[in-house]
Symmetry: C2
C-alpha cells in the first residue's frame, strides 16, 4: 500500500471550502503518484489555532457537508482520505476529530482526540474517550490517533493490542517538539511492530511555528520517509508482510507482562 502525506499550511483564511479544494488537488496528485491513501494534518479543514468562536462556527458532525464533499473527492480520485476537523458531537460538544474515508467514499472511522494539548486544545475541545476502533484498509488494520495522542505510548499500545498494524496520525505539531518526529513516532512503530503515518502542518499560525517533518515509520525501526519543513507531498510504500517479519524478531506484543502494569491504568500523577 502506498501512502501520501499532505504537509501543508492549508488555506491562509482557514476556509473549509478552500481547504477542500486543496484536498481535491492533493488527492489527484497523490493518486497520480500511485498512492492508495492521502493523509492531511490535524484540523486541516478549518485551521487549528482558530479559537473557540471560529471552531464553534465551523464545526460539523461526522456526516456533515464537508465530509460529504470529502467522500466525493475520495470516490472521484479512487483514494482513501484521512483529515482532521472540528466535530460537533451528537452531544453538542466540540471534538478535535479525524475521519477515515475509503476510496469508495465510505466513512470507516471517526476518532476524537483523547489527549488534549495545553490551552490550545482545552479552550476549544472536549476530550474523546479513547476508543480503539479499527477498520480494514487494503491488507491493513487501521486505527487513528491525533497529534499529542501518539506521544503517549499507552494510546498506541492500546490500538496495537486492538489489532491495528497501521496507525494514522493527523497532527499539528510545533517547535520545540521535533523529537516527536525523530524519536517518538518511530519508537511507537518499533515497539508495537506496526507502521505509523504522521502528517503534520507547516508554516505559522497565530504564535505557533509548525515544524513539518511529516513521516512514516516502520516496524523494523526508523522513519521510512520524512518531509522537510515546508509544503510537501511525501510518499511511502508500506508492506503488510513487513509486520510479520518484524514481529518474528521483535516479540514485544507477546512478551508484555500486563499483570504488572496495574499502575498505568490507575490515577494520573
Amino acid at each position: 500500500m502506498r501512502i501520501a502525506l499532505l504537509q501543508t499550511a492549508g488555506d491562509p483564511a482557514n476556509e473549509p471550502a478552500a481547504n477542500l479544494d486543496r484536498l481535491a488537488a492533493a488527492a489527484a496528485r497523490a493518486r497520480a503518484g500511485g498512492a492508495d491513501l492521502l493523509v492531511a494534518p490535524e484540523m486541516f479543514l478549518t485551521g487549528y489555532a482558530i479559537g473557540r468562536e471560529a471552531a464553534e462556527a465551523k464545526a460539523e458532525p461526522a456526516d456533515g457537508v464537508c465530509a460529504h464533499r470529502a467522500a466525493e473527492i475520495a470516490r472521484a480520485n479512487g483514494i482513501a482520505l484521512v483529515y482532521g476537523y472540528p466535530e460537533r458531537g451528537e452531544d453538542g460538544r466540540l471534538y478535535n476529530a479525524a475521519i477515515l474515508i475509503d476510496a469508495e467514499g465510505r466513512r470507516l472511522l471517526n476518532y476524537r482526540k483523547t489527549h488534549l494539548f495545553a490551552a490550545l486544545d482545552r479552550s476549544m475541545f472536549s476530550a474523546g474517550t479513547g476508543t480503539c476502533e479499527t477498520a480494514r484498509l487494503g491488507p491493513f488494520t487501521v486505527g487513528l490517533l491525533i497529534c499529542y495522542d501518539v506521544e503517549f505510548p499507552e494510546a498506541a499500545r492500546a490500538l496495537a493490542l486492538a489489532g491495528a498494524d497501521l496507525i494514522i496520525v493527523p497532527t499539528a505539531n510545533m517547535k520545540p517538539y521535533e523529537p516527536v518526529s525523530h524519536l517518538l513516532v518511530p519508537a511507537r512503530a518499533y515497539e508495537n511492530g506496526i507502521y505509523v503515518a504522521y502528517a503534520n502542518r507547516c508554516g505559522r499560525e497565530a504564535d505557533l511555528a509548525y515544524y513539518g517533518l511529516s513521516s512514516v515509520a516502520g516496524p523494523a525501526g526508523g522513519n521510512l520517509v520524512m518531509a522537510r519543513i515546508g509544503e510537501e507531498l511525501v510518499f511511502a510504500e508500506i508492506d503488510i508482510t513487513e509486520i510479520g517479519a518484524a514481529r518474528s524478531v521483535n516479540t514485544h506484543l507477546r512478551d508484555r507482562r500486563p499483570e504488572t502494569y496495574g499502575a498505568l491504568a490507575g490515577k494520573a500523577e
Copy 2:
C-alpha cells in the same frame, strides 16, 4: 551528577572474581574521571549466555560474597555501583538481577528482570514481579530495569509514575536490536521527562554479537552520549534541574488519561 558506563565484554572465562577485579579498576578510572556512579552491564559478574548449569553454580543471594566485595569497591573508591548478576532468591529460584550500591557500600536496590528475553533468559531465570522500588542517589530518585524491560514503555512509565527521574539499565543487547539504543532508550527518557542510563556489553558471547552503543538519554530528547561498539568507559553529566525544565515543556506525565488505559493492564495478546 556524573555517570560512567562500563561497556565491556567482561572476563572471557566469566569468572566473578576476575570481573570484580575489572569492576574495581573501572571504579577507580570512573572516580578519577569525576563520576559519582558506575554502571556495568547485565549479568556482568558471570557473563550472560552461560547456560543454566553455570548460572546455577555462580548465582548468589543479593547479600552474597560478590555483593560484599562490590560494596567494598564502592566504599574504597567513593562511587556508587550498578551491575547485573544471577541472583539466588530466598525462594530458591534464579533471577536475572541488578543491584545498586551507594558510595558508602550500602545496598539501595535489588531488582529482578520482569520481561524475560527469549529462550536465552527463560532457560535460566524466573521472571521478577515488576516492583517499582526507587532509591535516592544524590538529587535523583533512581529505579532499575534490565535490558528487555526498558523496551516496554509500560515498565519505564510505571517507574516514572513511582517517582523515578533516573532509570539505570544494565543490558546485554545484541544485533539486530540497535534501534533500542537509537530510538527506544531516548524515547523513554523524552516521554517520561527522565534520564535513562543504558550500559551494554560488547564483543561476542556464544552465538551473540553484542552491539555496544551504551548511552545516556535525557529528558529534552535524544542521547547525551553514546559509546561505539568496543570496550569503552563513557561519561555523561546529568542535571536534576533539567528534569523540571523538560517537564515544564513536555507535560506528558500529567496529561495521561489512565481511565482510558484499561486494556494495557489486561491479558496479553
